[in-house]
Every structure is written in structure tokens, then in C-alpha cells.
């Protein structure tokens, strides 16, 4: 007690001498410093939003900022974040470190990659890593991931058969070399994308976010008289790991399974999940899931792991922010060559068609043992997206992506909310902005009443959106969607949600997860379905097993 008290005093005061490794940090100091790290990640997040050019970043918030230790282990991420990016960023950082070891990095270096197998699973997300120098020593890594409006290639849909059709792929490279922008990279990007100004502007915004994160981290260390983040990181990791392992211990050992069939592009995707709880650890194995397919709906291992860890965290540790320690009790396996661990040259543009299934499958697997944490399937999951590309009436190229949420699944605590994303967490683009950025008129955007499944807790309703093409030129449309063949499932005898539909007028043949060209006057109508219900509405509701956590 005495010892921890004195450490506490040193840490709370602005100690002058540098303390490289505080032994044990007391409850108050740790809370204070942890909050500061959160503030650093959130400030970098705000910088990214404020300086970004594309609506997918600034309106839909399809990005994350992550502060990592020098080994690429996550300490904290922005409060409002995208679950998959939270999970993949540290993996990407480790790939960057493998190619550019710490000792080769210089102040002002910024590394970037969008390689799906090293990054987030598709080419649209630019993953950026910068060393944080305190003096001549690297004390951490600033990272962020942001979704680019366009990356060349065939657009954000499942249309392609291989990665090579999907756009420009940058292996980990220096975007800034000791603070100097790399003009070759800029030229290459500009030559490959439809809207260079948006993409290059967003890359600038990402770099600005990393600069802010680095600067604030250094200020933080100096304020607390710390030479590095190591002692703090150790404390954060170990406490988080312990909290998660304690929660797992309350679940009986055993194998928890869930089978989920979902829409592929022109096939059915089978998720076969077996989660083995052994004391204080969980191993999730996807053995038996469908093989990879020659369409852009395959998930790479990074992405599969990220969404599995996310689902586990919602189940075992929903009230704390994420870090490396939160995930140490989890192991994820998927057979190489399956659609959940696809190998090059698999097409992956619409990889969320696979990945978004996983948290739902996990919630299903643990529903019986942890009904308080259970949630029926969410409507409109995998995420529905519409990308519009073309040339406007003034001859200027446009490119915009918008997201449309279905209804949240019912929960033990109450009905699902209408139009709320899960598991991803993008925001909608306001109709007024969508129309400003592309020659369309949205004729309606309303809640699709009754599209959520009935139940003791109802599934939230999805939405109906009708988009009329205006202007004089045809518009290339890329779609991703889900649940047009397999509805969001109810849980505990709750009803399933409705099936979704994508309708085009005048009618023609197209795939709701593919590309098509619409002409001025044509109408695109999305019926994004609601979520599943929770519990039976009639007769005796299922007896609730006693709440374990």
C-alpha cells in the first residue's frame, strides 16, 4: 500500500525527473492517463474529419485512428470507430514494421498501404502508420485507416473475379520521407483514380491526423515525466486481459457452435463456427465454411480476425475501450482458401459480405449461455452500399459512396432500433449532400415499416430509399447488399426479418451485389430489411437461463 501510494504521488504530479518504467500505477493515475490517451486518439479523429475531402470520411465517418506502442500493439482508438479497422490497424502496423524496421524509420516518415492482405481486406482503405519520436527514440506508432471514395478498378461491388480488377494496390511504401511528400506516389495515385483531388486530399487528412497524434503523445509523455509508453502500456494490457479472461471464466467450458447461411453473389455462403471455451480463453474456428469464390466477397484473415474479435468483445467485454490486451484471450482460425481466409488473387472489394456475418454468428453461438448479451440478426447486414461514379453535366467526374442501414436485431433489453448499423458503424450521408455530390434526386427515404421480425423484443425496421438518376450522362453504379436471399434471423423463437430487395426501373438483369449502368431517368430502389425478433410473442416465452455475466 505504501509503495503504490508513493508511485501515485509521483505520477499525479508533473515529476521533473524522467521515470522510464513505473512499477505499478495506482487506480487514479491509470484512469487519468488512460483518459488522456483516449483524448489523443479523439483529437486525431477530429483532425481527420475536419480536413477530409470525401463524404465517405467526413459524413459517413468511415475511418479510425489508433495509437500503438512501438511493436504495433494497440493502446487506444478513437471513440467513434469502425470495428474492423480497430482490429486490422495493429496487424497492418506489424506488416509495415516487418518491411521497415524501427531503426530505419526517421522523424516525419509516413507509411501507407492498401494491400488487402496486409490492411483491411479491400483496396479502398488506406492504412497509414507514422513513427512517434520523442527525441531520437520511437515511443509509439500513430495509425489510421480511412475509406477512399475511389481506388480505380471496377468499384465497390462483388463483380470482379480477381483482385487485379479491383483497382490500385500500394504495398507498404513511404508516402512521406522524413517529412517530404513522395511525388511519385502522388502521381501514380492521381493517374489511377477517378477523383484524384478527393483521394489525395483524404490522404493529406490522414497524414495530418497522424501528425497530431504524434505531437500530443510526446506532449503527454513530457507532462507526466515519462520516457516512453511502456509502463503504461503494460498496465493497460494486463488489466484489460485480466478483465476479459475473468469474464470468459464465467462461461462453462465447451464448444459453442453456430451455422449461418447467407447470400453470396450467386451462391450461398456457409459460415460454420465453433467457439471453444477453455477456462479463460476462446478459440474460434471456421472449419467447414465455404471455399473462396471467384467474386469480390472473400474475406482475408486480417478482416476475419478483426470481426471475430469484435464480436467476442461485444460478448465478453462490452463496456471498455479496446486494446491489445482485450484480445489476448482470443484465437481465430479459418481454413486457408475458405471465403474467410482467402488467398491471392481472390477478389475482395465487397469483403464485408463475409466479415459482417461473423459477429452475428458469434452472438448466436453464445445466445443460450449469455442471453443478456444476445441480439437477433441485424437487418441490412452485411452493409448495403451504393457507389455512384460518372461525369456530371459540366464534364467534371464525380464519385460518391453512401451507406444505408437496416434495423437492429431485438435484444433482451428491448426492441431493436430502426435504421442502425451492425456490426459496422458508418453513418448515413444526408440526402441534401448526396444530391449535391452526384446528379441524383432521392424520391423517398423512409422506414420500411414491418420489415423487422416480431418477437418479445421486435427487430428494428429497415428503410426504403428511391434514387432517381438525373443529368445527361449514364452513371456507373456499384452495389453491395445482403439478406436478399437469407433474412436476418430471429433468436429464441423470434421471427426473422423480411428479405431485402434491390429494384431498378426500367427493369433489367443485374446482381444486387454487382455493377450496373443507370441512365438519366432510371430509378434505383433499395429495400433494406429489418432485424430479427428476440423471443417468442405467443405462449410461454422461453425461460431465460440465469444471467452469467
Amino acid at each position: 500500500m505504501r509503495a503504490s501510494h508513493s508511485t501515485h504521488l509521483e505520477v499525479l504530479s508533473c515529476a521533473d525527473e524522467t521515470e522510464s518504467n513505473p512499477v505499478a500505477i495506482d487506480a487514479a493515475s491509470l484512469e487519468i492517463m488512460w483518459n488522456r490517451l483516449q483524448a489523443i486518439a479523439d483529437e486525431a479523429d477530429a483532425v481527420l474529419a475536419r480536413t477530409a475531402f470525401s463524404s465517405v470520411v467526413r459524413e459517413a465517418h468511415d475511418y479510425v485512428t489508433v495509437l500503438m506502442d512501438p511493436d504495433g500493439r494497440a493502446l487506444i482508438q478513437s471513440t467513434y470507430s469502425i470495428p474492423s479497422f480497430v482490429g486490422t490497424m495493429p496487424m497492418t502496423a506489424k506488416h509495415v514494421l516487418a518491411k521497415y524496421p524501427l531503426e530505419t524509420m526517421r522523424p516525419g516518415d509516413v507509411f501507407v498501404t492498401n494491400d488487402p492482405w496486409l490492411g483491411t481486406g479491400h483496396l479502398f482503405d488506406m492504412c497509414m502508420v507514422s513513427p512517434i519520436f520523442a527525441g531520437d527514440r520511437i515511443v509509439g506508432l500513430a495509425g489510421n485507416v480511412a475509406h477512399m471514395t475511389d481506388i480505380g478498378g471496377g468499384g465497390m461491388s462483388a463483380q470482379a473475379a480477381t483482385i487485379h480488377e479491383e483497382g490500385l494496390c500500394l504495398p507498404p511504401i513511404r508516402l512521406f520521407d522524413a517529412g517530404n511528400p513522395n511525388p511519385v506516389v502522388t502521381e501514380i495515385i492521381a493517374a489511377n483514380v477517378r477523383v484524384p483531388q478527393q483521394v489525395l486530399g483524404d490522404l493529406e487528412a490522414e497524414a495530418a491526423a497522424n501528425r497530431t497524434m504524434a505531437q500530443r503523445t510526446v506532449e503527454f509523455l513530457s507532462e507526466y515525466g515519462l520516457a516512453d509508453l511502456d509502463g503504461l502500456a503494460t498496465e493497460i494490457f494486463s488489466r484489460s486481459e485480466r478483465a476479459v479472461r475473468d469474464a470468459i471464466k464465467k462461461v462453462p467450458n465447451g464448444v459453442y457452435r453456430y451455422d449461418l447461411d447467407a447470400d453470396g453473389f450467386d451462391t450461398v455462403l456457409q459460415v460454420r463456427l465453433a467457439a471453444t471455451v477453455a477456462d479463460d480463453a476462446v478459440v474460434v474456428d471456421y472449419e467447414g465454411s465455404s471455399p473462396q469464390v471467384p467474386r469480390g466477397i472473400n474475406s482475408v484473415m486480417n478482416y476475419t480476425t478483426a470481426y471475430t474479435n469484435y464480436g467476442l468483445k461485444c460478448i465478453f467485454d462490452p463496456y471498455l475501450s479496446n486494446n491489445d490486451g482485450s484480445l489476448r484471450a482470443f484465437t481465430v482460425r479459418a481454413p486457408r482458401g475458405s471465403f474467410l481466409n482467402a488467398v491471392r488473387p481472390a477478389a475482395v472489394a465487397s469483403r464485408h459480405t463475409a466479415g459482417h456475418l461473423l459477429p452475428t454468428a458469434l452472438l448466436g453461438a453464445f445466445a443460450d449461455v449469455l442471453p443478456g448479451r444476445a441480439m437477433a440478426g441485424t437487418g441490412g447486414s452485411p452493409l448495403w452500399t451504393v457507389s455512384l461514379n460518372g461525369i456530371d453535366a459540366n464534364g467534371i467526374p464525380f464519385s460518391t459512396v453512401a451507406f444505408f442501414a437496416g434495423g437492429q436485431g431485438g435484444r433482451s433489453s428491448g426492441d431493436g432500433h430502426a435504421t442502425l448499423h451492425f456490426p459496422t458503424n458508418a453513418a448515413s450521408t444526408p440526402v441534401e449532400l448526396l444530391e449535391l455530390q452526384s446528379p441524383v434526386l432521392v424520391e423517398e427515404k423512409r422506414i420500411w415499416e414491418g420489415s423487422g421480425g416480431d418477437g418479445r423484443s421486435r427487430g428494428g425496421d429497415g428503410q426504403i430509399v428511391a434514387i432517381r438518376i438525373l443529368g445527361e450522362n449514364p452513371v456507373s453504379v456499384s452495389l453491395t447488399s445482403g439478406q436478399t436471399g437469407h433474412a436476418a434471423r430471429g433468436v429464441f423463437s423470434g421471427d426473422h426479418g423480411r428479405l431485402g430487395r434491390v429494384i431498378v426501373e426500367p427493369p433489367r438483369d443485374f446482381n444486387p451485389g454487382g455493377n450496373l449502368v443507370l441512365n438519366p431517368g432510371d430509378l434505383l430502389r433499395l429495400e433494406v430489411p429489418g432485424g430479427g425478433g428476440f423471443g417468442s410473442v405467443i405462449g410461454e416465452t422461453r425461460t431465460k437461463p440465469s444471467e452469467i455475466i
Binding site: 504530479s13 475536419r50 495530418a208 458503424n425 444530391e435 427515404k445
Partner: protein, 702 residues
């Protein structure tokens, strides 16, 4: 500057809070002020206001007919929004978009907790009407509502039996023609029904946010209108013949008619007035940069003011379903003093989470049951309890003896937390105090960083019941070396009203590339808006005291960026060819200040303009100068704990009204006054200035 002191000879300000109504009456001719507090009367706030004013005037030997101006702030708008007891309200919107109010922005504000609550819309689905109308992205008419549509809507509104209606159509921020058409129809057919037109209230892009703003206004308008007219009537019956004005969230005063029509503009009126007082107090020391800290029972409100005036935000949230979680409330897109609201107050509860971390707030013991030491049934340890354990508060002199504290109960409550945290009692109390300080300093620090300013030369002005006990350590974390505690910490908002300017903002939405701006057209629009605004200010009687000041702000960005930055631009003639260069230079400077980099070859654009008009010079509040104060009195002594200065230290305790102007005393010290307790840590010294504020500064050599 001021020509006619007598014109404002007797001023009265009131601040209607949920619990108390504060009144300050200021007799400028005799340099005398009195404060009164009265329990609020929510059913008719005028009752409490009038009672308190009459008592205050009685103490000044004055009559209601002597009062020149009465200035008000109120939390009633906010309270109605939080309690969901506003008017029965309808929404008329573009057909096909009736659900936007429920669909919100479709994201989760917490990514791991799937049980996250969202607030109910203020207008149920059954009270929304979609009319066939449409504008395109340029504001051009695509579909006009027909006469039949109009009549059908009127029939529906009649049947709906609502007390208020909001009108919000897509792209109306560019062209209000259809909203105006509908509003006129309602005015003609249902003249008693108040109408809120979104384009008049908040002409800004993003339909959900604009709709939410219009609905919030409509929902609170009948209440506010009733209360304003009841107050005006009661005051008139009492003999009042002067101007009645209200504070807006933006920190400016406006007519009673304005606030009755646009109550949503007053949602943050109390805190806005508090921050204006803080700026005023700092200005008395010749200091421009200010951080105000208003720490009460449940929350702390912080306002960072780099140039002595509050920053104005145009986007905030109200009535959050999950306390303090951004994204869980109703968006409001109106000018407001940029306030950071933090769940750290005297009543914030300390706990240890399952990771062993010491947490403070956001849960609060509120007034009931209150901190454990209040002895009203609270058992959980709060910040107040920790401050009692640390010796900052004391059972003998809390609230000047108006209330006794139960020390044993506080110790037991903190003890329970300390055991779970693995700390000893005092270390835990100190930890609670520091975690609360850190919540406040962290929020301020983020904001300071966003503003791109250096606060080291600022003053931190602290008020509210708990502010002065925490101010010094919050200031130090921000690098600020001076803390000012003005007198009457509990009625700061009411005092702030007395020093606030009259004024208004006008928004012009007009997206254009900088290089292709129609300068002549813009200059003409500026002139028209200015003429209108000056007219309004003249009708408020605000011009008597001085001329109107105009400031022009441009919302600018690189073409294609989504977020704009507000750039203050020189107020020269927009028709002048050099003007463009000045605007462009101002943008570059501000962007570089914020982001450390400019983008080459990307054109800049202006999204809109904000013209801020203010008039009337604030009186300088020298009236509480302490020359009639008591002589110096020997302090008593008690032990207080300073975790960063060696632990328990003998600490001098002064009653504030015994302090003598000009004498500098060393910390550690505690200064007790009726509504708050000021803590002067060992690394500070303090003195009473000639304006009645206690000023803390770093001790020499530290």
C-alpha cells in the same frame, strides 16, 4: 463611450434555474448591487422572478418603475426538452421523408455496447405530415405544392389538434419558398397555431439536423411564449416600463418577442451568461484569453475564450439519452457559446470498475440523495465527500453554516471505494479529487488544441458551487498561472447578463468558389442584411448606448472538403477588388494555424457567411469594490491534504468577506464564502482585487 449612465441607472437580471431563480439588481448611480435567490416556480416562472425582484428592489429602496432594463436567462427550454413535457407538436415535411427524425444518422455512438439508448423524437410519427413538394440541389423548384395539397394539409392539422408546428423541407436552406408558402397558409387558416420555419431558424445543409432544430423550437415555443407574456404582464402590473430582454445561447441579448418566437436560441442561455461574466472579469485585469470553469453539483461547464469572447459553435446536442455521450442526443444547429459539459460536479459519484480503475462520474448523486456527507440518504462517495476528507470543506463552515456535513459518513463512503481501489483513505480521496480535475482539464485541453491556441497567458475564471475548490489544479494542468474567483459564485449567470451586449447573428448560406464570388452581389446582400439587423437592434432600444458593431465571419474550406473553418475576415467593402485577397489571406492564416499545412493548387470556397451584430456597451462592474469591507481578521487553521506537496499541511482558513484589497497572502489557504469554498494550494498565493475577485497566482519562484 457611454453617454447616458442614468439611462441604465437601475438594471435587473434574473436567471431561472430548475431549483432556484437568481436575481441581481444593480444600482449604477449608487454603485450598489444586491442578490436574491428564490425557489423556482416552474408552472409560472414569473412568480419567483417577481418575488425576488421585488425583494431586491426593496433592499435598494427602489421601485419597479425605476428599472430601465430587465435581462433574463432561463433553463426552462432545456428542462422541457429533457423532461419531454413540451407542446404537442406537428411536423410538416417533404413527402417521403417523414421518418428522417427517427432514422437519425444511422450510426452507433458506442461500438461495443449494443444496448445503447436513443432519444424519442419530440414529434411522434402520427403527428408528421408529408406534402408533395420538392426543390433540387440548387434550390430550384421540382414540384410545387398545389392548392389542394395545401387545403388537405390544413384539414389534417386541424384534426391533429396540435399546439405548435414545425415546417422543414429538403434544400429549404437554399430557398425557403415552399416552407414560406406552407407557413403562410397555416397563418391564414389557423392563426393561433405557432409555426417554426426551418429555413428562417437554421438555414444550413443536412436535413436531419435542420429538422431536429426546427422541431425543438416548435416543441418549446408555446411554453416560452406563454411564460414570456406572463412575465411581461406581471412586470407591467408591478409598474415596470422598461425593456425586457433575454439572453441567447450565443451570449447576446435579444428582445422578449424574439425568444418567444425562437426559444431554441435560448437553450444554453444560463451557461452563456456565465461565460460572459468570466470574460468580463478577466478583462478587468487587461487579460483577453480566458477559460471559464463553472462547476456545480452534477456537471462542470468549461468555455475557452481566446480573445475574450466566447467561441461560437453552430452545432451541438441537447437532451442526450446516454449522459455525456456524443451522438445520443437531439442535434441543434444554432449559434451557441461553445461549452464543454463534463460529468464532473460536487455530486459526481466515485467508483471502481472491474478493471480496478478509479472512476468519477458521470453518475451523480444529484440533489437527492446527494453526497454521503449531506446525510440525506446518499451512501456513495462523491467529489464533495472526497473534498471533505481532504480538509478542503469542513463541517463547521460549509455554505456559511447553512448546512452541516457528516464527516463520518463521507469517510465511510470514501473508505469503501478506497478498499476496492487498493488505496488508503486519503490517497483515494486525493485520487477522486484529481480524477475530477483531470476530466475537466482534459476536455479543456482538447478544445484548446482544436482552437490552435496557447493558453499559458490566460486566466481561468472559476465559479459555481464547486469550481473554486478545483480551479487551481485544473488551471495548472492547462499551464495557466492565474485563477480568478469573482464574488457571488452562485449567481454568476445573472451577473453575466448585466455585462452582455445586445446583438444578433445573421447567417447567409451561399456556396461559391472564392475566385468566382459575385462581389457586387455579395456586398449588396451584406448591406441588406445589415440594414435589417440594425433595424431590429434599434427596435430593441439597443442603439441608444452606442453604435452597432459588425463582424464578418466566413465558413471556408478547400473546395471539396466537407468541414469548414470559421474565418474572421476584415470588414471592408466586399465590392473592393482587394477584398478577395484579404479573405484568402485570412483563410490561409487560420488553416495553417489549425493544421500546420496548406494545400497547394486546391481552390478555396466559401460555404456561407455569418454577420455578427452587437450594440450597447456593457457597464463595468466596479460596484462591489471592497472599500467598505471589514479589516483583516486573523485566520483560523485546519489541516488540509495536498497530495503533490507533501500531504497534510496546516492551512489558513479565511472568510471571504474579511479579505482586504491588495494584500497578498501565501497558500495553502482556504477561503470560505456563502456559496462556495476556494482552495489555494501551497504553490499559489492569493489576493483580493479592487473588483472584489480573489486572484490566485503562482507563488514567487515556482
Amino acid at each position: 463611450m457611454r453617454e447616458d449612465h442614468a439611462a441604465d441607472g437601475l438594471l435587473v437580471a434574473f436567471d431561472t434555474g430548475g431549483t432556484f431563480t437568481d436575481v441581481v439588481a444593480l444600482d449604477r448611480l449608487r454603485d450598489r448591487a444586491v442578490f436574491e435567490k428564490e425557489l423556482s416556480t416552474p408552472e409560472d416562472p414569473a412568480v419567483a422572478i417577481l418575488a425576488a425582484i421585488e425583494r431586491a428592489l426593496g433592499r435598494l429602496d427602489a421601485q419597479m418603475s425605476d428599472v430601465r432594463r430587465i435581462l433574463g436567462a432561463t433553463t426552462l427550454v432545456t428542462n422541457a426538452l429533457i423532461a419531454y413535457n413540451g407542446a404537442k407538436t406537428a411536423l410538416v415535411t417533404t413527402r417521403g421523408f417523414e421518418d428522417i427524425l427517427d432514422m437519425r444518422r444511422e450510426y452507433r455512438y458506442d461500438i461495443y455496447d449494443l444496448d445503447l439508448p436513443y432519444p424519442e423524437a419530440y414529434v411522434p410519427r402520427s403527428a408528421r405530415y408529408g406534402i408533395a413538394e420538392r426543390l433540387d440541389r440548387t434550390g430550384a423548384v421540382v414540384t410545387s405544392p398545389t392548392g389542394d395539397d395545401r387545403d388537405e394539409m390544413i384539414r389534417w392539422l386541424r384534426a391533429a389538434e396540435v399546439d405548435s408546428v414545425a415546417v422543414c423541407f429538403l434544400h429549404s436552406y437554399l430557398n425557403p419558398v415552399h416552407e414560406r408558402y406552407v407557413a403562410d397558409a397555416i397563418a391564414e387558416e389557423l392563426p393561433e397555431l405557432p409555426v417554426t420555419v426551418s429555413a428562417e431558424l437554421s438555414p444550413e445543409i443536412r436535413e436531419y439536423e435542420r429538422m431536429s432544430t426546427a422541431v425543438i423550437n416548435a416543441y418549446t415555443q408555446p411554453i416560452m411564449r406563454r411564460q414570456v407574456s406572463s412575465l411581461a404582464r406581471a412586470l407591467a402590473e408591478g409598474g415596470f416600463r422598461g425593456d425586457l430582454q433575454f439572453m441567447l445561447s450565443s451570449g447576446r441579448l435579444q428582445t422578449a418577442d424574439f425568444i418567444a418566437a425562437y426559444p431554441a436560441h435560448g437553450a444554453e442561455s444560463g451557461p452563456a451568461a456565465g461565460s460572459i461574466l468570466a470574460a468580463h472579469v478577466a478583462r478587468q485585469h487587461g487579460v483577453e484569453g480566458v477559460v471559464s470553469l463553472d462547476m456545480g453539483g452534477t456537471t462542470a461547464k468549461i468555455c475557452v475564450m481566446p480573445s475574450g469572447v466566447p467561441q461560437i459553435t453552430r452545432s451541438y446536442e441537447i437532451a442526450r439519452a446516454a449522459r455525456f455521450k456524443a451522438g445520443s442526443g437531439h442535434p441543434l444547429r444554432l449559434p451557441s457559446v461553445q461549452l464543454l459539459e463534463i460529468g464532473a460536479g460536487g455530486g459526481s459519484i466515485a467508483s471502481v470498475d472491474h478493471m480496478g480503475l478509479l472512476k468519477v462520474g458521470p453518475r451523480s448523486a444529484e440533489a437527492v440523495p446527494g453526497p454521503a456527507s449531506y446525510g440525506r440518504g446518499g451512501t456513495e462517495a462523491t467529489v464533495t465527500d472526497a473534498n471533505l476528507v481532504l480538509g478542503y470543506l469542513h463541517e463547521d463552515d460549509f455554505l456559511a453554516g447553512a448546512m452541516t456535513l457528516d464527516r463520518r459518513a463521507a469517510e465511510l463512503a470514501v473508505q469503501r471505494v478506497s478498499e476496492r481501489a487498493g488505496m488508503d483513505l486519503v490517497a483515494c480521496a486525493w485520487g477522486i479529487h484529481e480524477v475530477a480535475n483531470q476530466h475537466m482539464s482534459r476536455a479543456a485541453m482538447i478544445h484548446v488544441a482544436e482552437l490552435g491556441v496557447d493558453p499559458r497567458a490566460y486566466e481561468l475564471v472559476a465559479f459555481g458551487g464547486a469550481g473554486p475548490a478545483h480551479a487551481w489544479r485544473v488551471a495548472r494542468k492547462l499551464g495557466i498561472g492565474t485563477v480568478v474567483c469573482p464574488p457571488a459564485a452562485g449567481v454568476a449567470s445573472a451577473i453575466g447578463l448585466l455585462v452582455a451586449p445586445s446583438g444578433l447573428d445573421r447567417i447567409i448560406t451561399r456556396p461559391e468558389h472564392l475566385q468566382s464570388i459575385d462581389r457586387a452581389g455579395l456586398a449588396a446582400q451584406f448591406a441588406a442584411v445589415t440594414e435589417e439587423a440594425v433595424g431590429v437592434l434599434a427596435r430593441m432600444g439597443a442603439l441608444a448606448a452606442g453604435s452597432v458593431r459588425r463582424e464578418i465571419f466566413a465558413d471556408m474550406r478547400y473546395a471539396g472538403q466537407g468541414h469548414d473553418i470559421e474565418v474572421r475576415i476584415p470588414d471592408s467593402d466586399a465590392a473592393d477588388p482587394d477584398w478577395l485577397l484579404a479573405v484568402s489571406t485570412a483563410f490561409d492564416a487560420r488553416y495553417h494555424e489549425l493544421h500546420g499545412r496548406l494545400l497547394d493548387g486546391v481552390p478555396t470556397e466559401v460555404v456561407g457567411w455569418r454577420l455578427a451584430f452587437s450594440a450597447g456597451d456593457a457597464p463595468s462592474l466596479t460596484w462591489w469594490s471592497a472599500d467598505d469591507r471589514a479589516h483583516a481578521v486573523e485566520p483560523r487553521t485546519r489541516k488540509a491534504y495536498f497530495g503533490d506537496a507533501g500531504g497534510w499541511i496546516d492551512t489558513a482558513v479565511y472568510d471571504r468577506d474579511t479579505l482586504v484589497v491588495g494584500t497578498t497572502l501565501p497558500g495553502p489557504a482556504i477561503v470560505v464564502e456563502t456559496e462556495s469554498t476556494l482552495v489555494v494550494p501551497p504553490d499559489a498565493s492569493f489576493s483580493l482585487d479592487s473588483f472584489g475577485s480573489v486572484v490566485l497566482r503562482r507563488r514567487d519562484g515556482e
